[in-house]
């Protein structure tokens, strides 16, 4: 078990962002996609106790140790994926959504996603004209080892390449699009099955949206460097 405790003091009425000292693991059980190994998951639990009050809040989620890389292959123009340094041949399927009336249930997600794993798939692509899928969808992709390619809400047909040509500059409210995208990333980002965020289907989002998404989604340089020192920093958000 890995357990760590930090003391901190939070000013009244404030909203702070705090990074704990990183936890070290020696040879952790890695998370692998379907067909490449086990989908090892750890349970991460975070609690906060307040003096003179007791436990104030708690949060827990599954977490999988894995590294997913992908680049465009200059020879074929296709995208090559690697998981934990191992190249993977992608066998994937398109996904729109479970039900057109959005009667989304854990049971249905479990059945649909296990079906994809039983078909020997290792990736599901969530099409840009559908939904940003829900945490329950990602939970079962974590369990069954389905990598997820999640598109944002832009499609060629509706955004500038359809017949008739329409919405060449995407949705009317770009700030709203980015607010929804950022909130969706925060909702889904800890799932080991989440492999790739994609701007849209058959279409690049408008420049300002695309640039902002690329900027927001790159890995923070903080996580690139080698770690020996236990650093923790607290940043006032507001």
């Amino acid at each position: 078990e890995h357990l760590q405790t930090q003391k901190l003091s939070i000013p009244a009425g404030s909203h702070v962002q705090y990074t704990l000292p990183e936890l070290f693991f020696y040879k952790p059980n890695l998370w692998w996609p379907n067909g490449m190994g086990k989908q090892s998951l750890y349970n991460v639990e975070i609690t906060v106790d307040v003096e003179d009050h007791g436990e104030s809040d708690s949060w827990s989620e599954h977490f999988g140790f894995r590294k997913i890389e992908s680049d465009i292959d200059t020879t074929t123009g296709g995208r090559l994926f690697k998981v934990n340094g191992e190249p993977i041949f992608i066998r994937g399927g398109n996904w729109i959504l479970s039900d057109g009336l959005l009667r989304l249930s854990k049971k249905r997600y479990k059945t649909d996603i296990k079906f994809h794993a039983d078909m020997n798939f290792n990736m599901i692509r969530c099409w840009g004209g559908g939904l940003a899928e829900r945490p329950e969808f990602y939970h079962y992709c974590d369990i069954y080892g389905l990598l997820v390619w999640q598109e944002f809400w832009i499609t060629g047909d509706v955004d500038g390449r359809g017949v008739p040509v329409s919405n060449p500059d995407g949705p009317l409210d770009h700030d709203l699009f980015l607010l929804c995208a950022r909130d969706t990333v925060k909702l889904l980002r800890n799932h080991p099955s989440l492999a790739l965020w994609v701007g849209g289907n058959e279409q690049v989002p408008p420049d300002d949206i695309n640039t902002a998404l690329k900027n927001d989604l790159q890995l923070h340089p903080y996580f690139e460097t080698n770690f020996e020192s236990n650093k923790n920093f607290k940043k006032e958000i507001s």
């Binding site: 936890l23 090892s40 975070i46 809040d57 919405n167 909702l187 903080y222």
Partner: protein, 263 residues
């Protein structure tokens, strides 16, 4: 018994009614004149779900996925947005202890809404893919029943389906930040209400003065995956009016394998 910290999902006992058939305001619905399921136009609602899912559940429209039944359901383009603008209503009880806080959370609503709780109003801004959290601590009846009403509006640009159909209909839905398939595609017919509704989880979260928000977990690897680090960043909100001296704990355990139970 005071509420323990944690989340309570509100997915039972919801009612629904078409907005054009309800003369009361949200304040009246959640104070003097709460609805009941045995009085028309109120029907049992499916939450989470869409307006059409509730109408299908109550057999007020045929199931659009059988035969050509979808053709017999009026499209929002012909009925107008108010036809699919719906009220949703429920009640709940909760017992708050001192220095505790409650947030009302909507994980997704399509497309915008007004929330009324015991006569207090909040507006949920537009966007199908965003979460909403409202601190409702001061509006709650800490003993007895709380009444919650939500008026949900369809997307601003539901569009019109051309006679020949086509990918995304007339593409108007693309002006909003919402799912685009709902105007129909080559593989499916249009969805008549454009998926309007409280389409994802509704919950209450009970906390003390300090709340944990959106932890971010990142792993980094070295020495050929022998050495790994787990980096954790959390947002913490102190809702109280005093400095909070906290102890933040993180525990990482392996999942029980099969029927092995960790003691």
């Amino acid at each position: 018994m005071a509420e323990a910290i944690g989340k309570r999902v509100l997915d039972k006992g919801w009612l629904a009614a078409r907005s054009t058939e309800v003369d009361l305001t949200g304040v009246e619905l959640t104070t003097t004149t709460p609805p009941s399921s045995d009085h028309s136009p109120w029907i049992e609602a499916l939450i989470p779900g869409t307006v059409l899912a509730t109408l299908v559940k109550n057999k007020l429209v045929p199931d659009p996925f059988y035969g050509l039944e979808n053709e017999s359901i009026i499209d929002i383009a012909d009925s107008g947005r108010e036809h699919y603008t719906f009220w949703f209503f429920t009640t709940f009880e909760c017992n708050l202890s001192t220095n505790s806080y409650v947030e009302l959370n909507f994980r997704a609503i399509n497309y915008s809404a007004e929330v009324y709780l015991n006569g207090h109003k909040e507006v949920l801004p537009k966007g199908m893919f965003r979460r909403h959290s409202i601190d409702v601590t001061e509006f709650l009846n800490s003993s007895g029943e709380n009444m919650l009403a939500v008026l949900v509006y369809p997307p601003d640009h539901p569009g019109t389906i051309p006679p020949e159909g086509g990918q995304g209909g007339d593409h108007e839905i693309g002006k909003d930040v919402a799912a685009q398939y709902v105007e129909g595609w080559d593989w499916m017919a249009p969805i008549r209400d454009r998926n309007t509704g409280i389409w994802d989880e509704v919950s209450l979260s009970f906390t003390g003065p300090v709340k944990i928000v959106d932890p971010h977990l990142v792993s980094s690897f070295f020495d050929d995956y022998k050495r790994a680090y787990l980096h954790t960043t959390v947002e913490l909100v102190n809702k109280g009016d005093l400095v909070a001296d906290c102890t933040l704990n993180i525990q990482v355990g392996t999942e029980p394998e099969g029927d092995l139970i960790l003691v």
